[in-house]
Symmetry: C2
Subunit: 577 residues, 2 copies
């Protein structure tokens, strides 16, 4: 019972052995993470179309809940960029007076989706999103995020969740930009970009260890925030748009609003947010866990992230996931247990009580600059070239997902991309390569007769389908066989080499039975060769082997030796006949 | 140009060599087919919820058009049972005053679907309906057809396109059946069933050749029709429901009615009718063609059936397909070319001009009996047992399709069944069998270490995934590998045996690259072995082989010989080291 409980509440495992050393690591990590978190939380909430403080709320209770349930000691749960954009896109479909209420409902629904998938152990469903689809989606949504920040960067207010909508919106606002804001934003952008690009190398040259240099560079956004606030406070920048007074730095616990029509409209975007959020979180958690020779349990992660999202919906937040940047800080500073996340939340509360009056003077353009620098590193154009060289299907999937996401929005992009890649896979397996093979002279090897010089026999055709046989390709094989044998008057034997057949289903069995019968009508025998163990034991449960007009041979060589109308021209044959 | 045209108009091929001998075969076949066709056409039209004469119309122009375009000399195109029930079900969704107009629109849409699939050469799409789904669907819809005829058989008028609806409808009508009708229907049923069951054997015993006996038995429904008409004409059966006067035995050419909302609602059922109709027709055509050492072209068959259906929609018919019973008659009597179909249509016109006054006196219960006997032979309960023994996935597909079709209707059954079987296939390939293998002592063979007594080395783990690697199973393999290696302190080498990997995609390549990196972090090397040619040439187009921490071995044996921490205990090792 205790064992079972600790599977669902990992805190029971590490909590029992919690030591002072753990505490040191966890608290140090929490302090560093908070410095990265504050600008991100404010920025991502604005990106989601929500008040800035909602980002802070989403960093509190969800982080604590994840600390109790999660299996990764370093995953930092809270607001993240892509999930924020997806939230903005889902909310944007409604002309609702209260976007916050929609965000709470979205968080609740995403949480329920994740929790259900975890409890039903359906984590593997996630695998049906292929890498090209995810890469295309991530690149396109990062571009969309960056493009969405451009107006705020120069003091305009347009927004759009697709590329055409954004261009249209900018076009309508014309030249309504503010030079002062644009200057501050541009300077921040260039500064942050330079630090990101050259900071670590520069610090290393000054004798800072490369690991520490990497950490310091991650604090650049916090520095930008401080500089931004000081600029405003000092009166240097009188006219820029500010984050504004944060009414209450701490959330109040409330029930998320529920209504049936709302749930019906939001479940699909919520499901997609859940899936994308989970995929980014699990990738981060697994990468960092492997480095520590630990492992994360995907199904338990689903449960933990599900509960974290449900927690967000009860505490004034919005959908959350695991952050790559903040988890990396946790790992590098040396967080030892999931308690680091709880300490982050605790520290954030204390920090906010002090910092809130200052954050009101933070210019929005500075936040926009931090987002742009953060997400542009996620844009992967090389991927298009890689996939082009590697496989056509992968290129189609990545190109389609990328362009559909940019043109028609996040949901359309990911759904169409996923359907396309599954469809391409099915189409591919439905039309497998079928090689007609012959014997490489003097050996027991058999190769494609149209690629190699091989020995064949006019009375025998040997076909090797390079795929498991199942319903979608069974009739393809049948048709291929009929096309091959009809009209070939010399043929007496058809040998199916099953070396590449990992599995066989009832449809394929029926096709084999039909081929057997029809070939018999034509006076030919059907033989099998190189049948794998699991396939053979399945065939034995049918009556195919009883009615098969030919035989089952262990190898292609054995089949050829046995069936050939004329003896082979070398000594090998004598051995096996 | 001529060649190209004759591909789309096969009549140009056989028409040039048409001889007197062909004519004899075609005309004899046509005469026999007409005798089977008349009762079927009337009965199936009633089954579709349409006036009886619509069945006759559907047997005229479509048959002529198929004769021009089809590639099978024996396929008899016209009304068929399952397509008729599907038509009834599609029409039944509307409380429309004019079911005939809906039937014309359905025929047009099905025809367009078929024609498009044929022109785009998408015949292979059909293959995604697995055999279990088709078998479950055919059995369930045959049961539904038979159950639908029961009320007519006993003189009631209830109808329903699902089992619960039918039971409900019968329940409401209570005991409102007519003894006279039930007697005639029951007698016909028993008579037809006895002839079908024992007729051929009986005739054979009287010295009739078995082929001829089989043919004569097929004419039993025509005999039943004649007996039925005579019963009524002679005044023996005064109160039974009759087919009634056929206003016009010949159709008038009209445009099918078109409206946008109608098209939107009917395209899905029309598409399913097209698919199911095509599958039944192509199965019949291919089976009979193989017996004559000929072949049919599935894409051209799509075009021919598409045009036939469009023809039906312009000549007062309803959706048509190829009939198993009538095509078999064509084949057995010896139809030589597709002209047999045209002669059938011509003969039917002549016959109708004579017979129409008589057909008005045909009791509906006789037609109901002919349908019941015809379709019950399509119910295949054994299939459930076969699939249960063969493979669990196939059993799930057949059981689900069967019960969903009975309970929720034809469309729900086939669509859910198809989605389920595709989903099961994907789920299956997403969680492939991964064997951990070792060397069978004294040989170069490697087998599952948990099934056989094999040699292993504590520093090496050899994994053999039994499936092509693609996005849906790449992360499964990755997770499996991590679960295996984490915590095994002695491990130094991971060897992936790719003997069952027929293909690899970009997602799987990325998983391999990730495994390579993470294993390196753990101080382990990743090796590949037994990589197939196409997979190897694809890997060479990536940078995996450059960054791979281990090597690529030709065989598992070579890998083991090279990597083993201690020498093998037999002489084989010395050879390859």
């Amino acid at each position: 019972m205790v064992l079972n409980l600790s599977r669902y509440l990992p805190v029971l495992k590490w909590g029992r052995h919690y030591s002072r050393q753990y505490l040191l690591g966890d608290v140090s990590a929490a302090i560093m993470v908070i410095l990265v978190l504050i600008p991100q939380a404010l920025a991502y909430a604005l990106l989601a179309g929500l008040p800035a403080e909602v980002g802070l709320y989403a960093a509190l209770l969800p982080a604590v809940l994840y600390a109790l349930l999660g299996t990764s000691p370093v995953l930092a749960v809270g607001p993240v960029a892509i999930v924020s954009l997806m939230t903005a896109s889902a909310i944007g479909q409604f002309a609702a007076p209260d976007p916050q209420a929609l965000a709470l409902t979205l968080a609740l629904l995403s949480g329920v989706c994740l929790l259900l998938m975890g409890l039903l152990r359906l984590g593997a469903l996630i695998n049906f999103l292929s890498y090209p689809v995810l890469a295309g989606f991530t690149s396109a949504s990062s571009l969309l995020i960056a493009a969405n920040q451009l107006p705020a960067l120069v003091g305009m207010s347009s927004q759009g969740h697709t590329f055409p909508a954004l261009v249209m919106s900018l076009w309508q606002q014309g030249t309504d930009w503010q030079p002062a804001t644009a200057t501050l934003g541009g300077a921040t952008l260039v500064g942050l970009w330079s630090i990101r690009r050259y900071g670590a190398a520069g610090l290393s040259r000054c004798g800072v260890s490369s690991r520490r240099a990497g950490l310091i560079v991650k604090l650049a956004p916090a520095l930008a925030v401080i500089v931004g606030v000081l600029c405003v406070k000092s009166g240097l920048m009188p006219s820029v748009a500010l984050v504004g007074a944060i009414p209450d730095p701490l959330p109040t616990l409330t029930l998320p609003p529920l209504s049936w029509p709302l749930l019906q409209q939001l479940w699909m975007p919520a499901f997609l947010i859940a899936v994308i959020g989970f995929i980014s979180a699990i990738a981060v958690a697994q990468t960092l866990a492997m480095k520590q020779r630990q492992r994360v349990d995907p199904d338990q992660e689903l449960i933990a992230l599900g509960v974290a999202n449900i927690g967000a919906s009860f505490s004034g937040g919005y959908p959350v996931s695991g952050s790559l940047a903040r988890s990396a800080v946790n790992y590098e500073v040396g967080a030892q247990t999931a308690a680091a996340g709880a300490f982050t939340a605790l520290g954030l509360v204390l920090g906010l009580l002090v910092l809130t009056p200052w954050l009101a003077f933070l210019p929005k353009t500075v936040l926009a600059a931090t987002i742009i620098v953060a997400v542009l590193s996620l844009v992967d154009v090389k991927m298009l070239i890689t996939s082009w060289h590697f496989a056509r299907d992968d290129f189609i999937a990545v190109a389609a997902t990328f362009s559909l996401t940019l043109l028609f929005g996040l949901e359309a992009g990911i759904v169409t991309g996923a359907a396309l890649s599954i469809g391409l896979f099915l189409w591919h397996t439905a039309r497998p390569h079928i090689a007609e093979v012959g014997r490489v002279p003097g050996t027991q090897h058999f190769r494609n007769r149209y690629r190699y010089r091989v020995q064949t026999d006019p009375t025998i055709v040997m076909l090797r389908p390079d795929e498991s046989l199942y319903f979608a390709n069974a009739r393809f094989l049948e048709q291929h066989l009929y096309d091959r044998v009809v009209g070939d008057a010399q043929l007496r034997h058809v040998v199916l080499l099953c070396s590449a057949v990992n599995d066989i289903d009832l449809s394929a069995l029926n096709s084999l039975a039909a081929m057997n019968l029809r070939l018999k009508d034509l006076g030919m025998q059907l033989h099998l060769a190189e049948v794998k163990g699991p396939v053979m034991s399945r065939l034995k449960r049918s009556d195919l082997l009883d009615v098969l007009s030919g035989q089952v041979f262990l190898s292609a060589f054995e089949a050829m030796s046995h069936l050939a109308s004329q003896p082979f021209d070398d000594h090998d044959q004598s051995r096996s006949c």
